[in-house]
Symmetry: C2
Subunit: 349 residues, 2 copies
């Protein structure tokens, strides 16, 4: 029988500022379309349905852990799951993303937006199943979308390249914007507390679209709410990530997470210095360009070494306290699974 202790989980050790037994690694979107076993179990099951099926969401969460030997499982879910659970009429359309029957654009829309006030028991059951299979060395990371990214889907009515209606509300009707953020925040907190109750050991707040904002707008319109959410889950390690966030890394860091995820565009040592200046040293997560998984072993090895070197440099000068290896964005669906496994092996070696 294995002794129950999380002491030697590499990911938790890295976050705690200890030297991990190996460089911990997980990949955003490691669970999903890149894996044939995922496509098989999802066949005929709509995305949002799958997020409410305990056995299935557990199976999907565990697939990449079994296959790639990553150090963490990321809960298979979607950022709109808590809104769906709260009763919002929202669906995920294949090849498109979350689509809303009635976009949220008026004060009445905001007032009528349901707030999650019950446990999402299907997800909690899934978390328990996942934890039965994970070893002590493997960490289960919980999952929530940040309120800005959620608000963008709600206001635009679906995925948007330019977020123009979202920014129009932010700048043109700031009171309405803040009302919407205030109404989203308790749902996200409740959703995360439910995951903690069920047994997640760390969490990541995904602010996928935050990189579309100026730093000024991020600080005024988003940061207070992401801070409130991270504060509410401070009993577990917290990771904060968005894409294309080079200009707002320091601001995002000030929301209070122990770990800052870094997009591939910013070298980790440069990112660490920006984050540390405002927030003190944090743990870095990242930041291999997912496209490098298409470039062959030689290029992959070289880029992984570059990133490890940059992280080590940041730690050596005191700008960071640790490093969790990850991509600088999610795994692309057309990635060869063997390239992912190979990357993990190179990172661990």
């Amino acid at each position: 029988m294995e002794i129950m202790t999380a002491k030697n989980a590499p990911l938790l050790d890295a976050i705690a500022g200890k030297t991990p037994s190996r460089t911990p690694v997980w990949f955003m979107r490691q669970a999903g379309r890149s894996l044939p076993e995922y496509r098989q179990v999802r066949e005929g099951i709509p995305m949002l349905d799958s997020c409410f099926m305990p056995e299935l969401l557990a199976e999907i969460t565990l697939q990449p852990v079994r296959r790639h030997d990553v150090d963490a499982a990321i809960l298979f879910s979607d950022i709109v799951v808590p809104l769906k659970a709260a009763g919002l009429d929202i669906d995920i359309v294949p090849g498109k993303g979350p689509v809303l029957a009635d976009p949220i654009r008026t004060a009445a829309d905001v007032a009528n937006l349901p707030i999650l006030d019950h446990e999402v028991t299907e997800v909690q059951e899934g978390i328990k199943i996942i934890n039965e299979e994970l070893t002590d060395q493997q960490t289960l990371i919980g999952f929530a979308g940040a309120p800005f990214t959620l608000a963008s889907y709600l206001i635009e009515g679906g995925p948007s390249k330019n977020h123009e209606k979202t920014k129009a509300m932010m700048h043109g009707e700031p009171e309405l914007w803040h009302a919407l953020m205030q109404r989203l925040t308790p749902t996200i907190i409740h959703w995360l507390r439910g995951q903690i109750n069920a047994g997640i050991e760390a969490m990541q707040l995904f602010d996928s679209w935050a990189g579309y904002l100026t730093e000024k707008d991020y600080r005024e319109f988003v940061l207070p709410y992401s801070t409130e959410i991270l504060e509410s889950v401070k009993d577990i390690p917290r990771i904060h990530f968005g894409v294309g966030t080079g200009e707002i890394l320091a601001a995002m860091g000030s929301a209070g997470s122990e770990v800052m995820g870094v997009d591939w565009r910013v070298p980790l040592d440069v990112a660490a210095e920006r984050i540390r200046r405002e927030n003190g040293a944090k743990v870095l997560q990242g930041n291999l360009d997912p496209a490098i998984l298409f470039a062959g072993t030689k290029a992959l090895t070289k880029e992984i070494q570059r990133i490890k070197d940059e992280a080590n440099r940041a730690i050596a000068v005191g700008d960071a306290t640790g490093h969790i290896f990850n991509l600088g964005h999610g795994v692309m669906p057309n990635t060869a699974p063997d390239a992912i496994t190979e990357a993990v092996s190179i990172i661990h070696s």
Copy 2:
């Protein structure tokens, strides 16, 4: 009769480091789908065909100048026009973008890529028609896509969100990558020299996707070619722009343009300092978020003033030598034309 002199063209004055009679402004994608008169004249005419019709491309180029009172016309064209003119089998699919019948992925593909070696007379005729209507205060800006962005379309076979095949070639087959860039560069130079021969007064090199690269990759795989192109047209003022380029502004600046276009994510004074440290002070272009054109007069006025203040601060401390107002990206097709006209009026006031 108006006296023929370019002395008081605000855009050229700003580039020359003189105080312009008013803040010069033009908007990327000012000619195009946001205007009903554009949709009318394009009706039934495929995009690429329209780029080779002298009267039509002149009309489309002039429409926003007439309507919005902007200080520059940007030649209506597309980055793939020189490739089409060279004989490549490429088309622009509505709602999608440039699509290639046979993507360029092997040494043989690169060797067979046609090189433009003749004048594109239809475009040159269009330029002459445009110049007949423009006043001396209005500047005609020529247009070319940068080789990285062109290469991405060629390798991916069309628009790409992740550029994975492009980066795979760059990192996995660097010699093939450099061969492709070497083959694209003379076509772009020839295309721009033809525009200069016909009468453009300034030019912008659009490296739309350069922001998807790390600085290291940009400097190694892209910069030498963009530098060669800008060097070949140094007899006219040169503008260089890409989206999401905060991390590579200094590197892009070192390609040699007088003007650096700045994405909306980076405040102009911050951008200017980054650019100046490596390159000396340049002229700034930008950087209103196109989404602000949806936010109403009050927000629009406030954001325009913020940007002017940031530019003035950069000029005051010697980090920049001038400012051309523009968006931080292109006009969105669903923008209200009146909002654009209003923005120009606020910028000029």
